[in-house]
């Protein structure tokens, strides 16, 4: 929903990189482009830049409306804009589409320069670390040495954490929202079920579905349904749908939709399968599964975070069972052991994991106040 004080139409931009990028897997991408949007003005001293990292199914279109489509409102329009918690009257905000995505940056749907065909399944697996490397190249291109803040929710929060470890001098503040320092076995299990749904769809064709003019729509749709269940809280679902029936006459005694929740999930799944790419979905869920900075430091998260020099703002939501507050507390505990500057808030919000996208007054007040502090530090208050 478009909120008031929205930025209005925003044009997407592209940055082409011709040098090869070596990935965590050891493979390299010869050249690639990143799609991005920017909001606000980069001041002459270039200290007021904020990077917004996106989660699983989002993109560089963070705020405002797309120039080509006034109905297409940015995924965090309630957070970013003039007078919003991340105030574009003060900050120069960059939204970047991650490498391997299907929304404009080079990914499985892009044309492989050597074969002239879409990469499809030939597109390498990219990790959170690879995304951050690519984002840093974009920052160089934009002339940003150091971000006043790097912020993200969920998978976006992982990128903020990785930024703080990988480029400690380039991040003044890291805001890590509804995130986790690593996926649990249960999280990975959900991802695996989603991947199996896609991989077992007869239309998948080993990832070369584009060549067959096919789309593994059923698989993608089921994958999204599974994901969606984990984004909402039990209470939220009960409140929104309960056991309400689609057909008020009663049960259908068949396998068509009986309950409203079934209808809702099918709708979400089908909608998603029309705009999201299956190869991208497979890869992004793997990037989630693989992220584990502690694993690089003998399983010690505090040790992994030692290089970080940023101040941290960690936020979790009480009803988030996908990445519950316990995961954020682990991060907080590790950061405290490292004597990091730190704010941690556990917002009592009913919306589960998706709460990070919602306009909750306590949540937004906190982010707003935190950015007041950031603004004061970089002199753009």
């Amino acid at each position: 929903m478009q909120t008031k004080n929205s930025l209005g139409p925003v044009a997407e931009q592209f940055a082409q990189f011709d040098q090869p990028l070596t990935l965590s897997s050891g493979q390299a991408i010869e050249g690639f482009k990143l799609a991005y949007e920017t909001y606000g003005v980069l001041r002459a001293d270039r200290r007021n830049a904020v990077l917004v990292c996106h989660a699983l199914n989002a993109s560089h279109h963070v705020a405002g409306t797309r120039l080509e489509d006034p109905e297409d409102i940015g995924w965090w329009d309630n957070m970013v804009g003039p007078g919003k918690p991340i105030d574009t009257n003060r900050f120069f905000v960059v939204g970047v589409n991650n490498l391997g995505s299907c929304f404009g940056s080079t990914g499985p749907t892009s044309i492989h320069p050597k074969t002239g065909k879409p990469y499809g399944n030939d597109f390498p697996l990219v990790t959170v670390e690879d995304w951050v490397e690519a984002q840093a190249l974009l920052a160089n291109r934009l002339g940003i040495d150091r971000f006043a803040a790097v912020i993200g929710g969920s998978l976006g929060g992982m990128q903020a954490v990785e930024w703080s470890i990988r480029f400690p001098k380039r991040v003044a503040h890291a805001l890590v929202i509804a995130s986790t320092p690593r996926l649990s076995a249960q999280n990975i299990a959900f991802n695996e079920v989603a991947r199996r749904a896609i991989l077992n769809d007869p239309e998948f064709h080993e990832g070369a579905y584009a060549e067959f003019q096919a789309v593994p729509r059923q698989g993608l749709s089921v994958a999204r349904m599974i994901g969606h269940i984990t984004y909402l809280s039990d209470d939220d679902m009960a409140q929104k749908f309960g056991r309400a029936l689609r057909n008020k006459q009663g049960y259908g005694y068949g396998f068509d939709i009986d309950f409203e929740i079934e209808s809702y999930l099918r709708y979400q799944g089908e909608k998603f399968s029309q705009y999201f790419d299956a190869n991208t979905y497979l890869r992004i869920t793997k990037a989630l599964d693989y992220f584990d900075p502690a694993a690089r430091a003998d399983g010690d998260l505090a040790k992994a975070l030692v290089p970080a020099e940023a101040s941290f703002c960690v936020i979790s939501f009480t009803t988030d069972w996908r990445f519950p507050p316990e995961r954020s507390r682990e991060m907080v505990s590790a950061l405290m052991r490292n004597n990091a500057k730190l704010v941690y808030s556990e917002i009592d919000a009913p919306h589960g994991h998706d709460a990070f996208l919602m306009e909750d007054p306590r949540y937004h007040a906190l982010v707003r106040s935190y950015f007041d502090r950031v603004a004061a530090e970089v002199g753009c208050a």
């Binding site: 556990e346 009592d348 935190y370």
Partner: protein, 207 residues
Amino acid sequence: MNRPNHSDLELRPDLERIARWIRPKARVLDLGCGDGALLAWLQSEKECLAYGAEINQDQVLACVQRGVNVIQADIDTSLSLFSGNRFDVVILSQALQATHRTEAVLREISELGQEVIVSIPNFGHWSHLVSLLMGRMPVNRRLPYEWYNTPNLHLATVSDFEALLGRLGLTIIEHQYLVESDNGELKSIASLPALRATLALYRFQKQ
């Protein structure tokens, strides 16, 4: 040292007394840190590395606005968040009486810090005894709640508290018995603290 004039960092008198007990550059944990006034003071005046824990969302926000380190946590249930950390000083200012697991909290915080500072309202104050003699639970400026809506679950007299410290093997390093006047000023007293003190501050450590 050239120190800026921190008129906005005027501390509440009881917090000021706690602050005086803390060495410069100490690593401090303030449990139930409220709006972060003490943290801000310790940060700027004593260059402490100070973290606060606070459960109330509005107070957490106030801490963010002050620019202090704050962690939203419930002292009763989430002290494990701080384990693995070692602090020079752990402070629990006028919050112990509102904890559910008071004894366990005392034991746990004495593990977290080299030293612990606790302040408690003295329930044995003579005015409370007068109230009780008149047949009513005391309600006053310092304990402004009725018996049915008070967050204060575990009120104690100074003697009660000192007995518990002894039982838990915690040694008092220093203490102050204080009388709070109506204008908020604090005065130390030496005689008849059990009856006259409204507030007691303790600095103690594990034996």
